[in-house]
């Protein structure tokens, strides 16, 4: 009995030492989107090596990231979707979005011999509305004269879990099809007219690979690292664009507003891939909240500054599209305007 007690006491004491130890260094805490998680962990690892500042990021989903920021329990949140006005009202003070990188959603499919397909916005929305049901539909065949399309039923696959990927994809569909906008709408979870739900990118990819004639949407980085076939998509300017890091970066090659709060789907950019979007880090413009210190606020701003500049080098090796020059400049300005008790941090 005594032995157990002593052991427990030792453990308790050593833990309290750990805590003291931890408090000496600044440690930053973030939570949110899972899509940029691999990139963030690589960035934060590198940042820790350079500055000895530890950043803890939990991939709990965009919705969770927004909630955590509003309840003021984190230094920053991560999100793939713009924070809605009613959420900002709930927070009470100004939330700013800093774009970190770009992601894209690709259309993947399971057809004999995996031909390279060309698709346009009408076909994609009609397939997901359940109006085009066969692969040899006239509309698809017309765009792909060199491919012999089979008379196979199209099995529509989509995400079952709430996800930023769904949000970007349905945002695109809402922009290009008024019928989709009226009937279905956009969001992280929606009421799908047709199809099977699968969990996560791996789930959708697995289902598409298993069901002959299936079509699904996954993140570009997932499709690239798994060598899946994906379609070229006709953008607003009429060009068929192959999804790639370059064409995704190019989608932000437009006049960005100062707060970067723009959805890049169906972009005006001439060679931009049309189903792309920013992923943002969100934080309060006024960094003085929940007993945070000036040092903590300063380190948060420093970290973001590093992420949009030097940290960008980690994007491409991990198949993320880096920020365009234009986006980088806007992000820089947002960071420069972060304040602590009204005074600028950087």
């Amino acid at each position: 009995m005594k032995k157990i007690f002593i052991t427990l006491l030792t453990i308790a004491i050593s833990f309290s030492f750990f805590k003291l130890e931890a408090q000496k260094h600044t440690e930053l805490l973030g939570a949110g989107a899972t899509f940029p998680y691999p990139l963030y962990s690589r960035m934060f690892e590198d940042y820790y090596k350079q500055t000895n500042i530890k950043v803890n990021y939990q991939g709990i989903g965009s919705g969770g990231g927004i909630r955590q920021l509003i309840s003021k329990t984190v230094d920053f949140g991560g999100t793939d979707a713009i924070v809605t006005p009613d959420k900002i009202a709930e927070a009470g003070t100004k939330i700013v979005h800093v774009p970190i990188c770009l992601g894209a959603v690709v259309i993947t499919y399971n057809l004999p011999n995996s031909p390279k397909l060309k698709l346009n916005s009408d076909i994609i929305s009609d397939i997901y509305l359940g109006k085009i049901v066969k692969w040899n539909d006239e509309a698809i065949q017309k765009l792909n004269p060199s491919v012999k399309l089979p008379a196979l039923n199209i099995a529509v696959v989509r995400r079952s879990d709430g996800s930023g990927t769904t949000s970007i994809f349905t945002n695109y569909l809402s922009k290009i099809s008024s019928e989709w906008k009226d009937k279905v709408g956009e969001g992280t979870s929606i009421n799908w007219p047709v199809g099977l739900g699968a969990k996560g990118n791996p789930g959708v990819a697995g289902m598409v690979q298993q069901v002959p004639g299936a079509i699904g949407y996954v993140e570009l980085i997932y499709a690239m690292s798994n060598n899946m076939p994906y379609a070229d998509i006709k953008n607003k300017s009429g060009n068929f664009v192959e999804p790639s890091l370059t064409s995704v970066s190019l989608s932000a090659d437009i006049d960005l507003p100062d707060d970067t709060l723009v959805s890049l789907t169906d972009t005006d950019a001439k060679f931009g891939y049309p189903i792309s979007g920013f992923t943002w880090i969100i934080l309060y413009q006024e960094q003085n909240y929940s007993n945070r210190t000036n040092v903590q606020a300063y380190e948060t701003a420093q970290l973001l500054n590093w992420m949009i500049n030097e940290g960008q080098k980690h994007a491409e090796p991990l198949h993320y599209a880096p920020l365009s020059k234009e986006a980088q400049k806007k992000a820089q300005n947002i960071i420069k305007n972060l304040t602590f008790k009204g005074k600028k941090l950087l």
């Binding site: 919705g63 809605t84 709430g162 799908w192 099977l196 298993q210």
Partner: protein, 287 residues
């Protein structure tokens, strides 16, 4: 004397703690779903539309999905569980065969549900797809029947191992008396063992049903996750637990989140009701 009292009170303390935890869980769910209860009204129970975009939340597709998969798996499970239990409890109480079978059952019970999900997705779903092509329904592979069969495999160990224990406990003087009257083994199983152990076996099945009702990961992976009321056994569907697991992380709207908590509350109540009914049935048939 003092020790005796201390022991008794600590027993009370820990038992009441269990009650308290149950109450806290219930009230946490109730509190979290208040917003949804006010907003969704009664249509939550009978509406079949789940549309987070338009803030319409109906639980019927998930309620039906949960009940259908659970009871279907229960029905498939009962004969298997009984056969295994009778074999191990009466015919092969000892020996290599019995040890091997017992270990296998315990191992099956210990496999994490995500593994069942993966196995289902990569092994069982393609088989289902072949069958569906034969009978000419859309060859998705996933759906209500696939989920039910995976669930069956998951709950057989629970029902079987409890039934085995109960059958083991049938007093041997009863059986010996029957033998002395010239009963055959089959007659003993039919007339002595099964009636005597009915309530225990039923309790085991109830426990298995509880697991089936709440199972999340394995079901999510093989049910197809379509938020509709299933029209046939091959149709895709969704369950309450699987919906929560799917949408919870990205539910940004308060009302969406609250509605998911309300689904949790509904699952809690459904489980409670089924258990209470089970207890009542149990009392009626107590041997």
């Amino acid at each position: 004397m003092f020790n005796d009292k201390l022991f008794k009170y600590s027993l009370f303390f820990f038992s009441i703690l269990m009650l308290l935890i149950l109450a806290i869980i219930f009230f946490t769910l109730l509190d979290g779903s208040m917003l949804a209860i006010k907003n969704n009204g009664f249509s939550f129970l009978y509406s079949s539309i789940w549309n987070p975009v338009m803030d319409e939340y109906g639980a019927l597709p998930f309620l039906s999905g949960t009940l259908i998969t659970s009871f279907l798996s229960l029905i498939i499970c009962i004969p298997f569980a009984l056969v295994v239990a009778i074999l191990l409890g009466e015919y092969y109480k000892k020996g290599i065969f019995s040890t091997a079978l017992n270990t296998a059952i315990e191992l099956l019970a210990g496999i994490p549900s995500i593994i069942y999900g993966f196995w289902g997705l990569f092994f069982f779903v393609p088989i289902m797809r072949q069958i569906q092509m034969r009978v000419n329904v859309p060859p998705f592979g996933v759906g209500i029947i696939t989920a039910s069969i995976i669930l069956t495999i998951m709950i057989i160990p629970y029902a079987a191992s409890i039934a085995r224990e109960i059958i083991n406990m049938v007093p041997s003087d009863l059986k010996e008396a029957a033998y002395s009257l010239g009963a055959t083994r089959l007659e003993i199983v039919k007339n002595i063992i099964l009636p005597h152990s009915f309530s225990g076996i039923f309790a085991g099945i109830l426990l298995a049903l509880g697991r089936a009702l709440g199972e999340t990961m394995a079901v999510t992976m093989v049910i197809g996750n379509a938020n509709i009321i299933p029209k046939s056994f091959f149709s895709p569907g969704n369950t309450m637990a699987s919906l929560i697991a799917n949408e919870f992380a990205e539910a940004a709207q308060n009302i969406h989140l609250s509605s998911l908590v309300q689904i949790g509350l509904l699952l809690f109540l459904v489980t409670a009701i089924i258990n209470i009914i089970g207890q009542k049935v149990l009392q009626k048939f107590k041997y």
